[in-house]
Amino acid sequence: MSNSVSALNGENVKGFVQVSELGLQGMITLRANLSTPKVKKAIKDVTGVLVPKMRQILHDGDNSIGWMSPDELLILCPHSGAEAMVTALNDALGKTHALVINVSDARAMFAVKGADARDAMAKLAPTDFGMGFQPGEIRRSRLAQVAGAFWMVDQETFNVVCFRSVARYMFDVLAVSAEKGGEVGYF
């Protein structure tokens, strides 16, 4: 078994907010008809989390599920348990038309933390980061030149996920946005 390491090995930098790569994170992509009872039950039974509604992210213990599109969910779980969860989901879904894939090592995840986290994010994504954006919502967008999804963990923390291949770019662009002297003070 190889030794799994995350894209940037937990690198972090402190500007007017803190930007950190969050290390190994289990991520599973699930695509299916999310309105069918069998799919809903399988997801709830295996993850303990309900199927989220449009742009919702739900958490329960170590697991979270984010709404990615009408037929796609992002399941977050401990990295070491992702493979077992894929098997369990496939078993629970049986012959239902669905795709379940472990994408843990194809992704990277970051935290942007601090009182002015909304300002740091707003420089990069064409999203309204005003008070209408609250914990419980997940938004897919772009951050500067690359695609990413983000949600709020609490009032001063954003989590950001992106493809591992652009992890370095994502970290650097978040770090530049968070540099001291770059405070905006808008939100």
């Binding site: 449009m54 742009r55 990615m68 599109s69 009408p70 064409p126 897919r140 967008s141 772009r142």
Partner: protein
């Protein structure tokens, strides 16, 4: 800046989140069709000043294709609607009629 409401994820997406997909509601003419129909399918496009129907993809977002009705002159957006349709829904046509009485576009009016 063009801003379209994605009917699939409900966000107001600005054009930097979107990929243009060209003209909407084009009927495919494939093998066995006449040369005229095939040529029209490949190359015949509307270029209106005013009401226009387009396909867009929420590329940096939920990834879904959808339709948009807008004015090419003022950039006013009349509405967006699902991709799974051969023609604009009546609700969209009504919205356009309210603002551009007497409009027509290809076979629609």
């Amino acid at each position: 800046m063009l801003i379209l409401d994605c009917p699939y994820c409900g966000t107001s997406a600005d054009e930097t989140e979107l990929s243009p997909g060209g003209e909407a509601h084009i009927k495919r003419y494939g093998p066995g069709s006449s040369d005229t129909d095939f040529e029209g399918y490949l190359f015949g496009r509307e270029n209106p000043k005013g009401v226009h129907f387009e396909r867009w993809r929420h590329a940096n977002g939920c990834g879904k294709w959808f339709h948009a009705a807008r004015c090419t002159m003022t950039l006013e957006v009349f509405g967006t609607y699902a991709a799974q349709t051969f023609e604009p829904p009546q609700e969209i046509k009504d919205k356009i009629s309210a603002k551009r009485p007497g409009w027509s576009w290809r076979d629609f009016s």
